[in-house]
């Protein structure tokens, strides 16, 4: 047989095999695009990675006001994983679209003035209670980042509607070091949203707490440091620090903080010397 004939035969065979492979791929693709289950599995994966991405954005941008786990910080910003947002809030605001769209719109533009000024005053002086986030309005986040963080917040619905599902956070530090654990409680309860502690937070709504350990014992006659601090947290209006207004520090921490957590918190705060 001449070389040219071999080439024609093999060439034809190759083209037939290629056509077969292509046909198999096309059929598989057709199934993938057609089948509800597969497509939704794929969309589920896309959604999952969007939520993961949004969690990272939440973690870097939002925790200082809305709390480490979206639980909110009294006086600073509302809870994002609580029932209210998922049941009553849309109606209260008069929002027609979906919850996720609401979140997206709030995050995009931020809020100049709170819709609940009695709860959230912000830093005052015309600064917004919640800053603008979208690049389109001069914020730091791209559109896809805003969308992702909105997906992350909307994903809280399951916990919002079933509060019993919300787990207690695992403490992310050596379990035998009360100071370190107290520091964590301080972060988780959102104290960092108002107080500056060197190396941890820079907020200015409340007094700087470095040096608290030195001054706490002598602030109120007859109260030792531990008693004073505990009282300042549970009943902030009893002794208001000068230059600060009464009522800024939330008064309901006694309900939010367990005794155990309070002990840890104290052992942390008592290390804060000048």
């Amino acid at each position: 047989m001449k070389k040219i004939h071999l080439e024609i035969i093999f060439g034809t065979v190759f083209i037939l095999i290629s056509a077969l492979l292509l046909a198999i791929m096309a059929v598989k693709e057709q199934d993938r695009l057609g089948e509800e289950g597969r497509l939704s599995a794929y969309e589920g994966q896309q959604r999952a990675s969007q939520i993961e991405f949004g969690a990272g954005i939440y973690e870097t941008n939002c925790t200082s006001c809305h709390g480490e786990y979206g639980q909110g910080i009294p006086g600073k910003a509302p809870c994002l994983r609580c029932e209210e947002l998922f049941s009553a809030r849309m109606e209260e605001i008069g929002w027609q679209g979906s919850l996720e769209e609401y979140v997206e719109s709030v995050v995009t533009t931020g809020r100049q003035v709170s819709t609940r000024p009695e709860l959230y005053q912000g830093e005052g002086l015309g600064s917004p209670v919640m800053p603008t986030w979208s690049e389109a309005f001069g914020g730091p986040l791209r559109e896809d980042q805003v969308k992702s963080v909105a997906a992350f917040v909307a994903n809280f619905e399951e916990w919002g509607l079933n509060p019993e599902l919300v787990p207690t956070p695992v403490i992310a530090l050596p379990p035998d070091d009360p100071t370190a654990l107290g520091r964590l409680v301080f972060v988780q309860q959102g104290c960092i949203g108002c107080h500056t502690v060197e190396g941890l937070s820079t907020a200015t709504t409340g007094p700087v707490l470095n040096g608290l350990a030195d001054r706490a014992g002598s602030t109120v006659d007859g109260m030792d440091a531990e008693e004073y601090i505990k009282n300042s947290i549970k009943n902030p209006s009893d002794y208001v620090v000068s230059e600060f207004n009464d009522g800024l520090m939330p008064a309901n921490f006694s309900e939010l903080i367990t005794d155990e957590e309070m002990d840890l918190l104290l052992s942390f705060l008592l290390t804060l010397s000048e």
């Binding site: 040219i4 492979l21 791929m25 896309q46």
Partner: protein
Amino acid sequence: MLNSLREKINNFPRGTELRTKIREMVDNRVRIITAGLSMKEIRAVLRGDPPTEKPNPRYKVITTSFVAHLRPRYYPKAATWFTHTFRLGWFTTFFFVVELVTGMVLMIYYVPFPDQAYESILAIESNVFLGELMRDLHRLGAEGMVLFTWLHMFRTYFTGSYKGQRSFTWLTGVALLAITAWLSFSGYLLTWDQLGYWAITVGSSMAESGPVVGPALNLLLRGAPDIGAGGLLRFYLNHVILFPLIAILVISIHYYKVSREHSISLPATVEEGKLTKEERKEATRRIDLIPDLLTHELFLTSLGILIMLVILYFGLFASPLETHANPQQTPLDTKAPWYFWWLQGLLKIDPASIIENMLAGIGITVELSSILNSKFIMGLVIPPVLIGILVGVPYIDRNPSRLAKNRPFAIGWGIAWIFILLALSYMGLPEFGVETPLATRIIQDLAPEEGLGELRATPYEELIPGVYTVGEDYGRDLCPSGYSYEDHESGELVIGCPHLTAVFTEYSEKLLIGEEEGKLTDLHATMTIEDFAPSLRRVIMHIEWFDDDASIDKEYEKQYFLHLDRVREH
């Protein structure tokens, strides 16, 4: 009037006469379309018979047809030996055509704006019928084209085919090397993911380092100080219009030189070697384009298509797609595509410190780093010099012989360059010469910023919340004894947490080795897993140690969010 019509009908040819008449008419059309071949001739071509007319009508096609005039009438037999060209130039052209075809399909769906580009790629991968295949073909074809261009260049170098008149062919070839590089470079940005974005940012920052015109050049390239909408659009237009057109033009010139002017060079052994008269006659026998070369090329085309499809069918190649480009976050490992590793390797050489050290050796201390910055020298000066050397090859090498044994120096140089390129490419690997702190490296290996990694491959069910401390004894399995779960993806029943345990073991072992080697004194490391949101857990890797060199405590922490439904494998 009626009469004349009747006459016409009466005179209308019938029977054999009619058949010949029709055949003549068809034949005429066919000759016009094929630019010279009659039906009979086509039949002869297909049968493999010799030409039916004189002069050979198969050559007429090539002189009269616009498309075919690019093609040779024939090549001497020896020039078509497989071991002479390895069909490297041919396959480069094949890949270029693959790029044109698949590129046109991708263009339909791709959107060249920063806020939509990445999503349009996702859509191509997931929603467009055979979109993923098109994208893979385009990416595979691009890598193939670059690879084969280089190989083809080395082939023509080693066979000495750039000598004499062919120096112009070589020159257009060098232009094609640059054009191919630019085509692939500009395409790299279009996915608008971290991979492309940072490879292009690093690449184009070389332009910026140039003196005087540097910043202007950078601006021209990027359309703004940083790559944004302007840069993306520029790269897109370069990639889909300007450079494909330039490539088509230059390939045509390049190929015209080969096919119509000089023919493919004869192997040196035929041109200069001692052959008997018989052997020479056989070696220079004409191999016609029609039908032999053309059949061969169709065969190669079917082979090329088959190989590409087989590679993709069996998943041996997949186009990478990382997360959305993020100008605020420089990835730990910026990766240029492999065919630019040599350049990345060059950039890691610091000429200033080398010269400083050399001069210090003979007792002179100078400070050069302010004048000789390595980006400028290695990125802007050296590559043009290399191109200059390439262009100059036919003029530097004045040795008239093409036989390998007569040109030991040129062959030696060629081989040396291959090794230099390989060595530079090795140096260009992201890991090479870039000192990443051990703690960072360990975590990056376990859970790379991009791609899957062991940690992300862990099933959600194994991510049991808790604090796991390195160095503590957790027994054989990290999870509580008796724990078992049904994998929500595969439905398999799994006892314990084999995957998580493996991840933690690797993490611990690497850290403990680091501690033993004295790189991580006073090591304290944890892996914490906690519930963060519904179906979403957070894993925090936290490492603290005492840095002996700087005498301070250091810590490194990295967190990962893992969702129940995330992709666990590719």
